[in-house]
């Protein structure tokens, strides 16, 4: 349909007089009737003849209107007009209706934004499909976080991962710095943590290789929110010294606003990968993420780590009895972690899965 025809239809809908056509047909019949009378017919005969020649009046009207086949729109127009009349007649009801709609739309938008961010978007990391979380079994049922000494063996001996990284649980430390004291949620990470996730800092630099050993690891990266809140968002924050539980760290960078992993972290600092913790077997307390090599399946990666686990089990029968590696796609953990932060999402999550 050409736009000119659309325009003429719109104009017709907006401006037409509904009795136009009926009047036109009445005139037509009257003219024919008058002509018939002039031809010498009796009035009644003339009227019948006129009607016969014309055909069915109602169906003509209908077919003429249907030419502007917008019956649906027409109905809609009448519905809207009726609705508006009702609303004008009852402003209190109108206000409640509008408010209800506004709240409904608002709530839906809010929930959708959260669900979209939390559940629907893929992991905000590079190559999310190749990212897996590793855990370990125990003699007791269930799976547990990873033993750091086991992790170092996995890292050294695996053949299916492009890279692996390890990070601690997030814990609060007291921060004293250039500004007022504050509580900071700190996560310790291996130096390659951000590189593996494919995230670069928005200001400053990330941890470099070899900075996760004692003597070099007193450096810190800030979350964007924490930087805004406690350092006024000033780039001057980089290079400043902060004290975390009385240990001095130099701020080297700020992460992007969209980066929240693990979710509540304010400050990331490197591990001491040569520390005592990384030499003790039998405990489980570290989170491990692996990036599988391209083309490697989850099952192949699992078999690879399991092989190492079985060797370790033989080597350390006491500490590593029944301690076997298990793998999960990282997005499962991501959902669980983010989902628990928001009741509506976890409710939805439970309902969906």
């Amino acid at each position: 349909m050409s736009w000119r025809r659309t325009l003429s239809k719109v104009r017709f809908l907006l401006w037409r007089r509904p009795d136009d056509l009926a009047e036109e047909i009445r005139t037509h019949l009257a003219m024919e009737e008058a002509e018939n009378v002039a031809d010498g017919m009796r009035l009644e005969e003339a009227r019948d003849q006129a009607r016969r020649r014309f055909g069915n009046v109602t169906s003509t009207e209908e077919r003429s209107r249907d030419m502007w086949t917008w019956t649906v729109l027409e109905t809609l127009r009448m519905d809207i007009a009726y609705g508006l009349r009702q609303l004008r007649r009852n402003p209190g009801f109108a206000a409640v209706a509008v408010l209800t709609l506004a709240l409904g739309i608002g709530a839906n938008t809010a929930i959708f934004s959260v669900v979209n961010a939390v559940l629907l978007q893929p992991l905000p990391f590079s190559d999310p499909d190749r990212l897996v979380e590793a855990r370990e079994t125990e003699e007791a049922p269930g799976t547990y976080p990873v033993n750091p000494a086991d992790y170092l063996d996995w890292q050294a001996q695996n053949r299916t991962f492009e890279a692996t990284t390890v990070f601690s649980w997030t814990g609060n430390r007291n921060m004293a710095g250039p500004n007022e004291p504050a509580a900071a949620a700190v996560t310790e990470v291996q130096a390659n943590f951000f590189k593996l996730l494919g995230i670069a800092p928005t200001a400053g630099r990330s941890f470099a290789k070899g900075e996760d050993v004692a003597g070099r690891n007193r450096i810190a990266l800030l979350s964007y929110g924490f930087w805004q809140q406690h350092f006024g968002g000033k780039t001057g924050a980089i290079g400043k010294t902060v004290e975390l539980d009385a240990e001095r760290y130099t701020v080297i960078g700020v992460m992007p606003p969209s980066f929240h992993f693990p979710s509540t972290t304010d400050v990331w600092v490197p591990f001491d990968m040569n520390g005592k913790n990384f030499k003790t077997r039998g405990n489980h307390g570290y989170n491990v993420i692996g990036k599988m090599k391209r083309g490697v399946t989850l099952e192949q990666a699992r078999q690879d780590l399991l092989g190492i686990s079985l060797r370790l089990e033989k080597q350390f029968p006491d500490a590593n009895s029944k301690v076997h590696a298990v793998l999960f796609p990282l997005k499962d953990r991501w959902w669980a972690e983010r989902g628990s932060g928001c009741w509506c999402c976890s409710a939805l999550w439970r309902w969906c899965f």
Binding site: R4, R5, S8, K9, D20, L21, E23, E24, I25, T27, H28, A30, M31, E32, A34, R53, F54, G55, N56, V57, S59, T60, E61, R63, S64, R65, D66, M67, W68
Partner: protein, 115 residues
């Protein structure tokens, strides 16, 4: 006996446009003109004119405005637009070709039958 013929679909549009070529006319006038021009050979139900007029209005080939008829009646007058005039020319030549083609096909049959 009624030996009038029914209109082929689409022919009515052309007939209306043709009628309006001589100037604006109302629905009844158009009906009468067609009857007169075809010497009553064409069976035009007057009612069928109105959907056709709406169709032509939509296409922008005619416009409509209320006016006063010869015997002082309020009536809606239809007028050919420039686009309508072009359409009429195109349709007329198309119609000629159609008639010639159909006639060409039908004539040999006549001869065979006759021979």
């Amino acid at each position: 006996m009624d030996d009038r013929v029914d209109l082929i679909y689409g022919a009515l549009d052309v007939l209306i446009l043709r009628t309006l070529q001589w100037g604006p006319a109302h629905g009844h006038g158009i009906a009468k003109s067609i009857e007169r021009m075809s010497e009553d050979a064409l069976k035009v139900e007057h009612g069928s004119l109105y959907p056709a007029l709406q169709r032509l209005l939509q296409e922008g080939w005619i416009t409509a405005a209320w006016g006063i008829s010869d015997n002082n009646q309020r009536a809606k007058y239809y007028r050919l637009t420039a686009a309508g005039r072009r359409k009429l020319t195109a349709e007329t030549s198309r119609w000629d070709r159609f008639v010639r083609a159909v006639t060409g096909v039908l004539r040999p049959a006549e001869i065979e039958e006759g021979g």
